[in-house]
Symmetry: C2
Subunit: 346 residues, 2 copies
């Protein structure tokens, strides 16, 4: 009999509420013979305040034997900016080598978008997750003085760029349109830009069926609001990916429905799935959070573990729920229950 | 009698066409007693192909004695990416210490936006222009091999950050809403982020009337499409500014109307004014380009040189022209003529 060993990190703020719904839907969709074993981890602001710890080596060792990780959200205004981001979120992505940061954007029928004319949006961003300006390289001298100098070093390796570019080509190849766009700023960041462009063009030769395209990151933000239909799969650096996926989420229904996977395709470490949104402390504990992004992240998790049918059932359920959503506000729990009913009936 | 010594760089592609209109409008709006002396410079792709030069020390010396520079656009697909950007555009911004890169965004009545519901948009981005990831610091080892490592170093100094932050506070102070938003990514780029945040908070004390706000760059792209009205003045780093001002242009009428100034407030070197759009080689020479962005850049130029009344007359003319624009396409020249008539009549 099959089993899924799932590490669950509800985290801070609305993280608790949305993860509860994600787990409900996960249990409901899994075939009877699949045993779901969950282990809860208490990472986040509360633990940081109590112990000063964000993510220890022992924590990493405890997470490692799991098949996947489901994360709600980490972050709280009581913790200085950067502490949990660098100390937990990025530490985990780097420690488990989550180099494929997968962020699909699909404007589902009936979902509101800030764009006029309800354009067609259905693309996937493959954001590099372990390099670029996110490495924490750099430093500060003469801190706090009028002569302070602070540097941030973006580190880009052929190894790191090639594996994510190849992953993106494979994903493009598997989609009907078979189109891959590289987003960078190779006219200004010429060192990294040359590496990315060169690797991209080299790997392209292995995928003759995939149409390729290059767009500067600044121009990409224009297309995301004027012609998002032009995108199929996008591959980009860690920071550019961070920026354009928030914009992509905004135009395709908002961060309430934006799911993501921090994937290590090698399987050497568990991949992590999380909504793109944060902990939203302003609405935490009020049952107001939309769990759809977390539930869709569960679908990505299932697809990653080979449960394609179940992933599709969840996506169909969320899609139907969104399409039929009236104007009456529902609680987090009510939306979760509605999604459970739909997957059970499917 | 007064005079303006203007260096004119039409540049590549549509640069020629739009600059011609900018100059027409400039001549038309200037008071009789102001003598306009223009000197043309042939920088761009053609000169690069002919001589291999992009911008020499002699060129810089020739540009220096001018009161201001008007630039059309530089860039052509025949030149490898980065050569003209680094060799001309950025070289000039750095050599003349254009640290205030000013990019206003205003959605004028009657102008199309990709956003639903015609939101109110009227903000100014003050983009740092001489530091950050744009310095060209960094490098490559083992180029072209599977072991290549390429770095990009973002350099941020208290000196450089403080002067642009102070400029932005002064601009916010002078506007009715008096609100300044810092856009950065201080939760990940903690070295530079700390410097920016710290300087911002320190300078804020000198401007007690200005309301301040901080937003991560990724979240800023969300607000730019869901709630652009929240912004009044934004101050941000060179790269973030590059990205968000293209998005800002897109939502507030497109790059056809986005003007910019590369300003050195000290006056030690001439400031440069240019449309945000590029050379658009695909439509060059066809009289299809909209000169509005260049004409609005001329308004910024005049304001910078102290001709506030004339700047406003140009802005009013462009605004009226856009509001009354029918669906009949006009040529670049026709739009320029219409703007000339309006400023003459005003
Ligand atoms: C919270 C932050 C560290 C993170 C990032 O910058 O990657 C977030 O914005 C995201 O996109 O997952
Ligand atoms: C062409 C390029 C060097 C430039 C930049 O990145 O600054 C452009 O995008 C801009 O915004 O003026």
């Amino acid at each position: 009999s099959r089993s899924i060993k799932l590490a669950v990190i509800p985290g801070d703020g609305i993280g608790q509420e949305v993860v509860a719904q994600g787990l409900k839907v996960l249990s409901a969709v899994l075939p009877q013979d699949v045993k779901l074993e969950t282990t809860d981890f208490d990472f986040g602001a509360k633990r940081y305040h109590a112990t000063g710890e964000t993510l220890t080596d022992a924590d990493l060792a405890a997470l490692k034997p799991h098949d996947a990780i489901l994360l709600g959200a980490i972050g709280d205004p009581s913790v200085p900016s950067g502490v949990l981001e660098r100390g937990f979120l990025l530490k985990l992505r780097f420690a488990f080598d989550h180099h494929v940061n997968l962020r699909p954007s699909k404007l589902l029928p009936g979902v509101a978008t800030p764009l006029a004319g309800q354009p067609e949006i259905d693309f996937v961003v493959v954001r590099e997750g372990t390099e670029g300006p996110y490495t924490g390289n750099g430093g500060t001298i003469r801190k706090g003085t009028p002569h302070e100098v602070a540097t941030e070093v973006s580190v880009n390796t052929a190894f790191g760029v090639e594996r994510v570019v190849r992953d993106a080509f494979a994903r493009a190849q598997a989609r009907p349109r078979k189109k891959l766009t590289l987003v960078h700023k190779n006219n200004v960041l010429t060192f990294a830009g040359h590496l990315w462009t060169n690797v991209f063009n080299t790997v392209a030769k292995e995928f003759p069926e995939v149409t390729t395209d290059y767009i500067h990151v600044d121009a990409a933000t224009i297309y995301l609001v004027t012609d998002p239909a032009r995108f199929d799969v996008i591959v980009t650096d860690n920071l550019f990916g961070d920026i354009i996926t928030d914009l992509a989420a905004a135009v395709s229904g908002g961060i309430g429905v934006a799911a993501s996977g921090n994937i290590n395709p090698s399987g050497d470490f568990p991949s992590m799935f999380e909504p793109v949104h944060g902990s939203a402390p302003d609405i935490a504990g009020q049952g107001k959070a939309d769990p759809s992004a977390t539930v869709l992240s569960v679908a990505l998790l299932l697809r990653h573990l080979g449960y394609e049918t179940e992933a599709v059932r969840i996506e169909t359920a969320v899609s139907a729920d969104l399409a039929e959503r009236g104007t009456t506000a529902r609680t987090t729990d009510e939306i979760g229950d509605a999604l459970v009913s739909r997957v059970v009936a499917s």
